[in-house]
Amino acid sequence: MKSSLSRRHIFNQIFLYSAAILLALWTLAPLYLIALAAFSTKEAVFQWPKLFLPTAFSTETMAFFVSSTGVLDSVWNSVVVALVTVAASLILGAPGGYALARFRFRGRDAIQLGFLVSKMFPTAILSVPLAVAFLQMDLYDTIWGVALMHTAMALPFVIIVTAGIFVGVPRDLEEAAQTLGCNRLQAFLRVVAPLTIPGLAAAAIFTFVLSWNEVFAATILTLRNRTLPAQVLSGLSGSPLYYRYAGGFFMILPAVVFIFAIRKYLLNMWGNIVR
């Protein structure tokens, strides 16, 4: 009886780990392959059959991509847009998140519902009229226009996530600080803010990745001042394969590193958004 139980246990464990490893391979193998394709010679991209080991390792295709017209500018644009988006959405959104976390007030549920709903509007319905409006306001084809749009897209997310972060700080701490002579702002800055910095940093990084990856609005709102995804997208049909591979990898690498850096916060963040 006992041995059959433990045999079943071992069988279960083997099954569990095989499934887990198989799914990990499904996730990781494509990332390995695009890295392989992005770091090879131009000839290796068209080689038949392809090799699966980095025997043709070379920075040739990557160097070609980076030195192509407009690419470095677009990388710079992407970074600026993402940084502006992070700063603007946190400065605008975090106070709102704090309000939702700390106060009971009339219309609170309606406002919260409004944020949830505004997250769901398709990008197309926002970017097409904004492009028309930006044309009249001289914001079309500027990185500021894209940053405005990205901030609007990120705000509902930032509000909901920061509300979740502020809920996690016990109210007692804040009240204790106030009884010890801090006013509300001081209590916030000296007690609440330091405790929430890791969570806010994770939200900031996630917002950065949202903006870094966004392609539809960025392409609609620009013509020459492209962000990186807009640059790669508009070149899809006219560019050689190795340019696209290098561009794909170039977009993925920082995002994956960032997401890995905030891995511990991911579950909490999504748990908050979903509920």
């Binding site: 464990q13 569990l16 799914l23 038949w48 605008l92 990856n213 994956v256």
Partner: protein, 287 residues
């Protein structure tokens, strides 16, 4: 006086965001309606929608958008459910696997399309390995208009690969709020893993499952860059047509008509979402 300032404070804190959202989300939506429903002279018209319907790509765009949705969403949910259930057993080393499964969260649909392009293209990795294993004598053209089902399949694979991570995280968050007692009770009654999953875990996970399903459905209506990367314009989709009409043809009116259609489908899905969620949260017994 103090009470007064306290009661105004939350509105003050929310005001900047609300103003921003009104200016950059609410106003644009009304402007999109104006673009879609108004003539240059400001009269109501359906001409943009008639032009949209007459567009040669319209029927295909509708067909492929809904087909993609029907394949992608279930594939993502099933795959993510397996991942989440595996992680939730908390086997040794499960956190490492969680982080691996979550990695595609960082990847855009455009990048995902390019990743799978390197695999499915004529001299790509898939053809290479099938050739080396002796299954093929020459490359199979996955990405040719002559093999439309194969091309469609590559998009389903790429989207499933990318967005499964999001669904997995949602489902795992849902699993973690299910009280442990439920699992233990099932064990006491001698349920095996499969039975426990089917009859205890899945019903309790219904709110999260439906949540994930509808969120993915809403975003599936917007599928765009991954299609463009893998299929070019051979497989049109609604969001892609909106993009084409504005970015290539400089026609904001028809682009807005397509966008309005996507919005209508999104609203329908959202209404269903809130309806279903309300009933099931109560059914599940904990909220």
């Amino acid at each position: 006086m103090r009470v007064r300032s306290e009661s105004i404070l939350p509105y003050g804190l929310l005001a900047p965001t609300l103003i921003f959202i009104v200016l950059l989300i609410v106003v644009p939506i009304f402007q999109a309606f104006l673009l879609a429903f108004q003539t240059a002279e400001g009269e109501f018209t359906l001409i943009q929608f008639q032009k949209m319907l007459a567009d040669t790509s319209f029927a295909d765009a509708m067909k492929f958008t809904f087909l993609l949705l029907m394949f992608i969403v279930p594939a993502q949910v099933v795959l993510a459910l397996i991942m989440a259930l595996l992680i939730h057993t908390r086997f040794k080393g499960h956190t490492l696997f969680l982080y691996i499964y979550a990695l595609p969260l960082a990847i855009s649909d455009l990048a995902s399309g390019i990743v799978w392009l390197s695999i499915f293209t004529e001299r790509g990795f898939l053809n290479s390995i099938l050739f080396q294993l002796g299954f093929l004598e020459r490359p199979f053209l996955f990405l040719s208009y002559q093999n439309l089902p194969a091309m469609f399949g590559t998009i389903v694979v790429a989207e499933s690969w990318r967005a499964t991570a999001i669904v997995m995280v949602i489902l795992l968050a849902g699993l973690q709020v299910i009280p442990r007692d439920y699992f233990e009770a099932a064990d006491v009654f001698g349920a095996n893993t499969l039975k426990r999953t089917l009859f205890v875990v899945l019903p309790l996970l219904r709110p999260s499952l439906q949540n994930a399903l509808i969120i993915r459905t809403i975003f599936a209506f917007q599928t765009f860059a991954v299609v463009l990367a893998l299929a070019g314009r051979v497989i049109p989709v609604l969001a892609g047509e909106s993009y084409n009409w504005y970015a290539l043809n400089r026609n904001a009116n028809i682009a807005a008509a397509y966008a309005t259609l996507v919005l209508i489908f999104t609203v329908i899905a959202t209404v269903i979402y809130f309806r279903l969620l309300r009933t099931t949260a109560a059914e599940a017994g904990f909220d």
